[in-house]
Amino acid sequence: MDLHFGDSKPTDDERAAVDALLGPPESSWEGADRSDADLRWARGGREARDRRDLLLPGLHAINDRVGWISDGALDYLCRRLTVPPAEAYGVATFYAMFSVKPRPATVLHVCTDLACAAAGAPELCSGIEERLGPGSGVAVERSPCLGLCERAPAALAIRAGDPVRTAVSAPATVEEAVLAASAPDSAPEEPPAALAVPQAGQDGLMLLPRVGVVDPASLDDYRAHGGYTALRRAFELGPAGVIREVTDSGLAGRGGAAFPTGRKWQATASQPDHPHYLVCNADESEPGTFKDRVLMEGDPYALVEAMTIAGYATGAHKGYLYLRGEYPRSLHRLEHAIAQARARGLLGDDVLGQGHAFDIEIRRGAGAYICGEETALFNSIEGYRGEPRSKPPFPVEKGLFGKPTVENNVETLVNVLPILTMGAPAYAAIGTGRSTGPKLFCVSGSVERPGVYELPFGATLGDLLTLAGVRDGLRAVLLGGAAGGFVRADELDIPLTFEGTREAGTTLGSGVVMAFDDSVPLPRLLLRIAEFFRDESCGQCVPCRVGTVRQEEALHRIVERTGTDAAGDIALLREVGRAMRDASICGLGQTAWNAVESAIDRLGAYE
């Protein structure tokens, strides 16, 4: 590859940030000063290009240290990794958390998404922007859902430096958000993850038994509370036995698509091509979803153990944990947990002395909802733009780095622990025939006790809302997040199962249950959903790239209209929505019209 680099040079800080990740450059071929020795030999080829997957970590390193990515920094990173600068620029400009233009070292992300908007985010935002204007040293950015819906409205401050500092303010007031941004180190500590689990400490929980009970930093505490019994059981059963248990349990993916996990594992395990990879999708970005965050913050070792089991069963020796960029506490907890597990022989060349090698690497996302799509996530890890690939081929055949890959959501993986400890028959006995086991629901909005709830499949929407203390004046409930659908307040008998929601013409999605009372103007809510999809469309295919824009424009036109005044635009929305659903490459475009359609048809919005 004959790469062309410009004349821009990195600053010392930028160079140091990249070198801290990659080590010092070995020759001028990699960006060091040229010496006579460099004229005698060359380094390049496949070995140099094979480090492309370090591009995203490299961009993070620069952005974390300096707060933005300059021409010189990008060029230096490209030299180090043998990546064409144009492609790296395309990657850097893909992610919302990166900037290729100078900006203040501190960025305050203020969530303006559904739950936060209903909890007063617009006023919060304008209040903050008044206090932190130009010259304040803080860039205020309106952000999509930060996954802190139980404490809405939320704000996340990130201050670049060495090390990068973060502070969360939720529920945020103008005063507290400004404090978090101007002095992240002295901002008050975030409340423990257990506060997001109203059931914490109750008996009988299968997915959340340790949240709020154990010290999330302590491996001993985890083991004292049943940790690593599932992995031991897995080694007794052998890989095929584990897959059989998971298949018999009827476990279906909890990320939204509900694909049978056992089948996915079996399909990956049986691929002759090697190596196999395991990817944990922790890019939890669906507005209203925060269950994975609570699991990772409250019980990080459970995910480490579950990934180890999945790797063992599918023949993968390397697991990637793709973590949402906006989850700093999850990152710290998991980094710590993985290091502890490694130090104690629970990860590494010989897990538990059983001869199986497995290790986990965390990769951080950088603000792109689309990277939660499984193939976009592969591209993101590989150092390309996070654009979905067309399927087939499916990931079990050609996934990460073109190799057989099993990709599971955090909650799906954590379900494997009770399956192995209690056995598939006992697990399958929970729930309904086609939706087995327990399910986590993210309840937010107009309820007294928002948070993550664990219920066996089969409970109704009404049961859940009663548990969470739904407030008077309920107007609508959004199921499944922005890609899901609204149901009416008189439809609370819908069973919260995959088949029950499907029969009711809606979706369970990732388990979002967002309650809205009649104080929230529905057209504004729909407009926010449309803005979300417009912002998050990757731009690859026409139906989604332009369709989401046209959808937003139409909803903007009718935000104050009803009846016949809105009829023309609603007809237009239906036509565009149908083409987005039919002809988009991936689930983002295919579901971008779901919530709006359900609001029109079920709730009678604009009537």
Binding site: T93, R385, G539, V542, D582, I585
Partner: protein, 286 residues
Amino acid sequence: MTVTPLGIPRRVLELTIDGEEARVPEGSTILDACRAAGKDIPTLCEGDTLRPKNACRVCVVEVEGARTLVPACSRKAEPGMEVRTDTERARHSRKIVLELLASSVDLSTTPRVAEWLKEYEAKPDRFGPDAARLNEEPKIDNDLYVRDYDKCILCYKCVDACGDQWQNTFAISVAGRGFDARIAVEHDAPLTDSACVYCGNCIEVCPTGALSFKSEFDMRAAGTWDESRQTETTTVCAYCGVGCNLTLHVQDNEIVKVTSPHDNPVTHGNLCIKGRFGYQHVQNRG
């Protein structure tokens, strides 16, 4: 003597297209099968010399058993597949895709698009006068070619041709995201500061005229570009011994554009800067 490479013999598979039996070699796409059966399916991002990107979604067809529509250009034909090319559902998506493009992009130099807009009864104006458009100014930063991204449908063909599919120069990429995504060189710099080697292979594959010879761009601006008065002469490039084929487009006894035949087994439509742009000496009549 012309030697036609036969390649490895391929098995033939059977499928049905619009209810009629069709037989195609294994490995063919649905689009190949449809074209062989005489079906005219519109395509924009599909390129005969490039791997399908299936970004534009204008070639979607219905396949029995598939939840969504399927891009004909990239989906491989399978034995027993039932393909329907002209259903209301497929036509609806094609029509919307054409409307979405025509309402946001300048398609005035895209071949056949006017015909398709008519055929699918597309009405791009119905999104209203305020519908967002790309609103890009032409980038004129060198003497050889112009990048008019107001005409760009983001088909990725130029990126693929510049990258690992042909040129391996990697001068351009898609930058930004969603509706704001644009083709750009690093740091959105002028072409002259980039890795571009001016082979013009991106112009060769551009389906909309967003990339064009400076000569064509200037003549269009002056209103003198007239393809009906142009002749095309295919000859051999005289610069080196490779023997690339050139097609010279001549208007009023002046070379106005150079392309290369895509079916050439050596170059597949690709040239270098000399073959593509180094024709001035021919016109130097002293």
